[in-house]
Symmetry: C2
Subunit: 331 residues, 2 copies
């Protein structure tokens, strides 16, 4: 049996995370017990929520244990099975973490159909990020036809789906992203109605031009100065789906400068964690899969090669160095 | 006919409001046309929202016009009527503003029954402040039996009703108020389970003691440092009814220091303006009237005497100098 290479959490970050917080290990793979299956991971998904897990203390999930394999979603192929539901050759998504192989009892392992949707997409537009976009848009923002929806981190795995779903629903979609290249992608390939480059443009001023009738729904992935710029443009009874605050993940919390907008414009802000809404996954995945297969939802991936490069890719993603969904190719 | 004394907005505040922003005028009362009635105002209600109206620019309501009578709710007696629905002697609540007399065509004038509820209470616990409390608690916080509800400005016209309604509904009610006297009133007379004196106590630390199981609902009247102290104590899926941010009304906006709590604890924050929810007034007023008549809801009033003293009383209220509902006695 091949050995397994994996990344464990070596230490907790003080301030910004760094590669020294991770450790690469090489370990033998155990023999399978009855009821178990062995998966060769082909893809590892890197996601901003992982940064929160590296901290000790209160967050919405239990902290990642030190010296344990980093948590993470994976997609791969069953190479050996002593489990009645799986056979070698099955394509599956699972939550096997930052490693090349994973042993599972089948809990949380799902077979996927890769005839019309590529395997890696089940970690992106047809996976957790896509479902996150679907839930925040349809269950919190609930936009009506003709309304304006704004999304930050618009070229990312979640944001790109938010805007495309909004367009499919007959809304005006405005993105916020970092850099000309990402903004061009958002408007030209994803067909948003506009995109603001927060690195070179005044977000509030530009939003006034791009959303002259105001903003009805805001899907927030970033926080900080970007949120402060969007709030004054929100219409009465606007809805804000709070999915992430990546601007503050790596250091001191970043305030909301003028909360009186929540009162003045009678806004609703709702934080959510997609894993707590399992009841909508089936419906959302079915819809997202159909959109991707039909080319109505497009996406982009940034791919790092080899488990040994996962930490660097992860740290880059936290700074916006990725373009679209950040993956690690493991096989 | 007597002359009418009234307060008009003389100028808009730059920073803190002052008495120089108001002007007392004495004007003759006009003769009544058919369809009109004349009310002798006995009580004027002073409310924090009025501070927002004094500003120019975007708020949730049209700004108060310069040189016009200050807007405000009133309670009084019809002294002359050429309107088919009203006769002299009717006790009414209306929105006749900061003046001793008001002429109306009957729109927005409501007869009230003062046999079991005193006239002034229709401006407080059985009026707009009471309905505000009722809506924020029952329609936004929606507390379940046994949950913990926290309210800031707890001895005030709105806050006192929030906590008492929460207690009637089987919740634990914790107030936040300024000073020992107000806190004693909140626990001893209003029968809240606890009250934190923000002027002398560490709100976060004390809240941990008084709400050991965390906070499920927060009714926010104040904002600023108090909100920052409550957020970390909120339980998962907590609800925040944002009714006022009086801490920031008079100057620069006060930030929310660490908005990541909205995400970590999956909170919902909802700003509201009670005048936009007329559909619940009848139900709310009926319930509030029954509670007040039966002594289940108690309240306190701070009374200024004479229209000429309204500006000073209003400015004091913005600083928390009042105790309970701030009124001006006009007759």
């Amino acid at each position: 049996m091949a050995t397994n290479r994996r990344i464990v959490l070596a230490s907790r970050p003080k301030g910004a995370a760094s590669t020294s917080n991770f450790r690469l290990e090489e370990v033998p793979l155990p023999a399978l017990h009855p009821g178990q299956l062995l998966v060769r991971n082909h893809w590892l998904s890197l996601d901003p929520y992982m940064r929160g897990r590296m901290n000790e203390g209160r967050s919405y999930a239990v902290a990642q244990a030190l010296d344990d394999v980093m948590v993470g979603d994976t997609a791969g192929e069953v190479i050996e099975s002593r489990h009645p539901r799986f056979t070698a050759g099955d394509q599956v998504v699972a939550r096997l973490g930052w490693q090349e192989y994973g042993v599972s009892d089948g809990d949380g392992v799902f077979k996927v159909d890769t005839r019309q949707v590529p395997l890696s997409a089940y970690l992106g537009a047809v996976g957790m990020p896509g479902v996150t976009a679907w839930y925040g848009l349809n269950r919190i923002i609930e936009p009506k036809h003709g309304e304006t929806v704004v999304v930050s981190a618009a070229s990312g795995a979640v944001g790109s789906v938010v805007g495309q779903l909004a367009k499919i629903g007959g809304c005006r979609a405005i993105g916020i992203a970092g850099g000309t290249e990402k903004c061009n992608y958002v408007t030209q390939e994803l067909k948003f109605d506009g995109c603001i480059d927060y690195k070179s443009e005044d977000v509030g001023k530009r939003l006034k031009e791009l959303a002259p009738d105001g903003v009805d729904g805001y899907f927030e992935n970033v926080g900080g100065a970007i949120m402060d710029a969007v709030l004054p443009r929100m219409n009465a009874f606007g809805r804000i789906a709070l999915c992430g605050l990546i601007a503050g993940y790596d250091g001191a919390p970043i305030p909301i400068g003028n909360p009186s907008w929540f009162l003045i414009s009678r806004l609703t802000l709702k934080g959510f964690i997609i894993s707590e809404h399992m009841e909508i996954w089936r419906e959302a995945l079915k819809e997202l899969g159909a959109h991707v297969a039909a080319g109505r939802i497009r996406y982009r991936e940034t791919i790092a090669n080899g488990i040994e490069n996962a930490p660097q890719a992860f740290l880059g993603m936290l700074k916006g160095a990725n373009f679209g969904k950040q993956l690690v190719r493991l096989a």
